[in-house]
């Protein structure tokens, strides 16, 4: 666990860089979180995914996996990987300020 400063606010991240407390997040942090995740240019499509992740987390208690994201976000998996080359679900979860998607056991 570490405390980092994002958009002039202190937030706590776990060892992999996911938010521990999603309430510490706000939309102003998104550009900086995206840069930390290797995405320099944020498009509307990125925002769509990030907002969708956040909303799903708030509704269900976990961010969706890539497969569910592809089925429900309206953005096909191929494009999700173009937007987030290092793994759409994980990267978008970090930017959306939510814990690591539970995936499965």
């Amino acid at each position: 666990m570490s405390t980092v400063t994002i958009a002039a606010a202190n937030v706590e991240l776990d060892n992999e860089g996911f938010f521990i407390d999603p309430t510490q997040w706000n939309e102003h942090m998104v550009p900086e979180l995206a840069r930390r995740a290797g995405i320099d240019e944020l498009t509307d499509r990125h925002w769509t995914v990030v907002r969708f992740m956040r909303e799903q987390y708030l509704n269900t208690g976990s961010g969706p996996t890539v497969r569910v994201l592809g089925k429900t976000s309206g953005i096909p998996i191929k494009e999700l990987y173009e937007l987030f080359p290092h793994g759409p679900a994980k990267t978008a979860a970090k930017i959306a300020g939510i814990p690591k998607p539970r995936g499965c056991i």
Binding site: P64, T65, V66, R67, V68, K71, T72, I77, K78, L80, Y81, P85, H86, G87, R102, G103, C104, I105
Partner: protein
């Protein structure tokens, strides 16, 4: 009036729940089980088919004959469930009205959801051992294999028995050793996870076992396409893995009728339920059990077994207008065949990851460690499955909750998952 209980699915979960219900509730209930066919496959046995250690025809029995005489069996597909009307529409039978509905229709393979998987090379050099037909085809392919690169790939989770693909890799190592071919066979395990398994302690143990057996591990690989002609798995991120023989565990979904039933399922047609009571989030008189339920635990027969006990208690209480009291703790255990006549055993629940020790107590089977005893227990389990587990008999000394005796690590701090 007798309560009408309809169970959709006559597999592990549906059968043992039906048998327990009629034994516990007797004449006060009418229990009906619906399934589209009368073939109950002992699925753990499929793992051994590719290596000539089991034959698919020996693994299958009549579903109906595993059920108590008091259970009515209806052979039919399911069209949909109307939650508001408490009615199930069947494709080959008149509608069934229910007081309590149990969704036990398991998980379904959807290989067609992965581009190219069922295209050229399917059942020729690209196989799955998750079906009797696939396992039989793979038996021939493995027998005729003289050398090259064998790739075991899990497309994505959830899958039934998440340790089975690892077991396949371990058994393939052993099988090719036996045939004197191991030096000519490259074994590669390709997974979407960031390690050999999901749970950290078990993942480290199993990853170590892969290394010790000379099986390469490719992690965080999300298969986007299978090219059977070029003999290549292509990941969404652009990476690719070449193969001569591919053993693929396809994507899984819940039953199709779940998707056709408004409000019942999630995006993958599994049924969201309360993690402890197994009550559907869509209707209080609907439950889901076994692989059909969307729960943060493994899709495995042991889970269906442990859930069955408390589900029957909850149905009993629901019928009698009492608050639900059965609480599932996520208890799972899995034997992991590791080849050369040995196996490991893991035991865990929602809160406690698989730990070393012994099951069910200090004198029991070794946990997270290879042993001959575990292998024998795994082989003996088939008899137990047909004669004890499916009939729903109680086991002396083995309750549903995960045992904590025999796990020294549990006393220590920091070993529990957060």
């Amino acid at each position: 009036m007798r309560s009408r209980i309809v169970i959709l699915g006559g597999g592990t979960a549906g059968t043992l729940v039906a048998n327990r219900l009629v034994r516990r509730l007797g004449d006060s209930v009418d229990v009906t089980v619906v399934d589209q066919d009368d073939s109950h496959v002992y699925q753990p046995g499929l793992l051994f088919v590719p290596f000539g250690r089991a034959n698919p025809e020996d693994l299958s029995r009549s579903r109906r004959r595993q059920m108590d005489d008091a259970v009515r069996f209806v052979p039919s597909g399911v069209d949909s469930v109307d939650l508001a009307a408490n009615r199930v529409t069947l494709s080959d039978h008149e509608d069934l009205d229910y007081d309590v509905l149990v969704i036990a229709s398991g998980a379904r393979l959807v290989p067609e959801e992965t581009e190219g998987l069922t295209g050229p090379g399917w059942n020729d050099r690209v196989f799955t051992f998750y079906t009797p037909e696939g396992a039989a085809g793979l038996q021939r392919a493995v027998r005729d294999f003289s050398g090259g690169r064998v790739v075991v790939n899990v497309v994505d989770l959830p899958i039934k028995c998440p340790v089975a693909p690892l077991e396949f890799a371990f058994l393939a190592d052993w099988y090719f050793h036996q045939r004197g071919l191991r030096d000519h066979v490259e074994l590669v395990y390709v997974t979407p996870l960031d390690g050999a398994f999901t749970k950290p302690v078990a993942s480290a143990h199993l990853g170590g076992l892969l290394r010790a057996k000379g099986i390469d591990l490719v992690t965080e690989f999300n298969t986007g396409r299978v090219d059977g002609e070029a003999r290549r798995l292509v990941g969404y991120d652009g990476r690719s893995v070449d193969f001569d023989l591919a053993v693929v565990v396809p994507l899984h979904s819940g039953a199709e009728y779940v998707g056709r039933s408004a409000g019942l399922g999630d995006e993958l047609d599994f049924v969201p339920v309360d993690e402890q009571t197994l009550q559907s989030k869509a209707a209080p008189n609907v439950f889901a059990v076994g692989d059909a339920a969307a729960l943060p635990t493994s899709k495995a027969g042991s889970v269906a077994h442990y859930e069955g006990d408390l589900l029957v208690e909850n149905i009993d209480r629901l019928i009698h207008d009492l608050p639900l009291s059965g609480r599932f703790d996520g208890h799972t255990n899995c034997f992991i065949e590791s080849g050369f006549g040995k196996a490991m055993l893991i035991d865990f629940n929602y809160d406690t990851e698989p730990l070393p020790g012994h099951f069910p107590s200090t004198l029991g089977l070794p946990l997270l460690r290879e042993s001959r005893l575990n292998h024998l227990a795994k082989l003996g389990f088939e008899w137990f499955y047909w004669h004890v587990l499916l009939p729903g008999r109680d086991l002396p000394g083995l309750g549903s909750a995960m045992p904590t005796r025999g796990k020294p690590g549990l006393a220590g701090a920091g070993l529990k998952e957060d």
